[in-house]
Amino acid sequence: MTVAATTEAGARPRRPGRRPPAPAWVGTVPFFAYVGVFLLLPTGIVVYDAFKNPNGGFSLAGIQALGGSEIRGFFVGSLELCLVSSLTGAICGAILAYAVASGNPDGVVRRLYLAVSGVLAQFGGVTLAFAFLVTIGPVGLLTHASWYLDFPWGIAVIYAYFQIPLMVLVFMPAMDGLKVQWREASENLGASAWQYWRHVGGPLLAPAFLGSALLLFANALSAFATIEAWENQIAYIVPQQISTVLNSEVGLANINEADALALGMIIMVAIVMAGYAVLQRRAARWLR
């Protein structure tokens, strides 16, 4: 605004060959174009197609199918798996991050942990399923464990392989922000360890913890390749069912039902995000 005002006031004829400074929002164009093309447009198409039938006409059949007991089962399955795996991942990861953060900040242990976490957080999909399969699968090298098939706990144990390292990575900065002087101060004032965590450490870390747990939840919700390689012949979670209705060669293929399922997942994330926002506001109240 001020820039524009001065040029107006100066009222100097613009020199040829010299362009006026670009408005500030120009810098955001690549970002919004990217978000528009790869997030908003696909979301819009999914929502639009969810309300159509395979012939292209308007239909509520896909949305109505979401209420059916079988489809509800997939959403319950997804929710169970995401809650179990994000909460266990967040708690174990936070404890691990605390252990690492309280060590020597330049120590070799810390560097090792962070490097390994960086690698393992990306270690998912078919590779991970295969690693478990050859180790403890039906003819595993170590043993034939049967728990790994249990849903959701067996799958959550496998997901822990990438959830815990991810938690360590995203929670580490918050842990580092916890100043040792605060702990000393509260101890000088006679606080017990419990009181310190209850009134100082906990509230400080809560917003970051919730945000990280939400990330883990979304991470588990969209994970598909691991469970698909593992339990290919039964669908437990929504992404597996989307795959079934997209690819079924026995006559159950219905692209609009897939869109409706995807819409259901979007709604699920929206609800979780809304819940997160409420919690976050309460957790961060002391900041204001």
Binding site: I45, V134, S146, E231, N232, Q233, A235, I255
Partner: protein, 372 residues
């Protein structure tokens, strides 16, 4: 997804119109359009003209043909050697539904599949995507195994079989598999609500357990018992999982279950006597095939009864070519390959479209509950 493809299609169609306008005088485009609608080799000007036009196109797009499935690796190689036409093989492990999805989504592009090899249900549901064509050996295909105008025609098939590692001894009945030595061993080839081979695996158990082709519930109940016994293996069986020892008992088509296909020396195959459950795959040509002459030449090659033609090559891969009976009668069948097929006894059962759809509907409501 689909809307964006639609825009892309409009663009491509506009370009195609421009292109057609520019080259309307050339002989290339006129021979191309001629083959795009030709319903037989003779209608298009004879085999030689077809070979010439196909060589000119130089490329053929196929999809979802695993090289180790029914000898497709050799079939593609032989076709390329014989005619000098490059074969683009897309998504070799795809499903039938992914094949027709590709026709729709890549419609109008040079990458669209020219021909498909799909399960019966998918073929019947998508006839509007196909164009009629009758191969020269059309009369050798049994009438029940082709669409009268040539929109689709079955190509090869087999019977559901139980393949297993010989460490289990000899399997002679279904209920043996419920025993304790089969812990975590018994697998299907794919989720039965999604994969044709998986559905037929459940149907085989159903028929052996006393069910009928119209009612798959006994098969689902049998798999429920299998799961309770701890013997169900949820990993989808492939040649690789059999080699790795991950899936030691596999319900699958016999041609995917033969020791020669699996490549494991201690592998046995059991086609349960009494109720041989058969299934054929189906060929069809994309009506907007980017290489219409090559697509038709490919079909001619697949249905050729020559010693190194498609029918005998499928047979060498353990699959039963659709012209097998006619070829046995006229002496063109590869007898040594035919003698290696597992013996089948009893009246073959083929699921009708309604039976297959009913089974799929029942499975979609009950499979997950039975097996989890």
């Amino acid at each position: 997804m689909r809307a964006s493809y639609r825009f892309a299609m409009v663009g491509v169609a506009a370009l195609a119109l421009l292109g057609a306008g520019c080259s309307s005088g050339s002989s290339g485009s006129s021979s191309g359009t001629k083959w795009a609608t030709a319903t037989s080799a003779s209608a298009g000007g004879g085999m030689n003209a077809l070979v010439t036009a196909a060589k000119k196109e130089g490329t053929l797009n196929v999809i979802a043909l695993p090289p180790t499935w029914a000898n497709y690796g050799t079939i593609i190689k032989t076709f390329t050697q014989k005619y000098g036409i490059k074969v683009n093989s897309a998504n070799p492990d795809g499903t039938s539904q992914q094949e027709v999805n590709a026709i729709k989504q890549e419609n109008g592009t040079a990458a669209a599949p020219d021909v498909v090899d799909v399960g019966q249900a998918v073929a019947l549901a998508n006839t509007s995507l196909f164009t009629p064509y009758k191969v020269s050996t059309w009369s050798s295909i049994p009438a029940a195994q082709k669409e009268a105008t040539g929109l689709w025609y079955e190509d090869y098939g087999g019977y559901m079989a139980i393949g297993y590692s010989s460490k289990f001894g000899t399997i002679t009945s279904l209920n043996q598999l419920l025993g304790p030595k089969f812990k975590g061993a018994v697998a299907l080839n794919g989720d039965p609500t999604s994969a044709n081979a998986g559905l037929n695996g459940v149907m085989l158990a159903n028929l052996l357990a006393g069910g009928t082709p119209s009612d798959i519930s006994k098969g689902v109940a049998w798999f429920h018992k299998l799961k309770q016994a701890g013997n169900f293996n949820p990993v989808s069986a492939t040649g690789a999982t059999i080699k790795a020892g991950t899936t030691q008992v596999v319900f699958n088509w016999d041609y995917l279950n033969l020791p020669s296909y699996v490549g494991v020396s201690n592998w046995k195959v059991f086609v349960p006597p009494g109720v041989p459950l058969g299934g054929y795959y189906t060929q069809a040509i994309n009506k907007n095939a980017p290489h219409p002459a090559a697509a038709r030449l490919w079909e001619e090659f697949l249905y050729s009864q020559a010693a190194s033609g498609g029918q005998n090559l499928w047979l060498q891969g353990g699959a039963r070519p659709v012209e097998q009976l006619a070829m046995a009668n006229n002496g063109s069948l590869d007898k040594s390959a035919a003698s290696k097929l597992p013996p089948v006894s009893g009246t073959p059962v083929f699921l009708s479209q309604k039976q297959a759809t009913d089974a799929a509907t029942y499975l979609s409501a009950n499979w997950q509950k039975a097996i989890s």
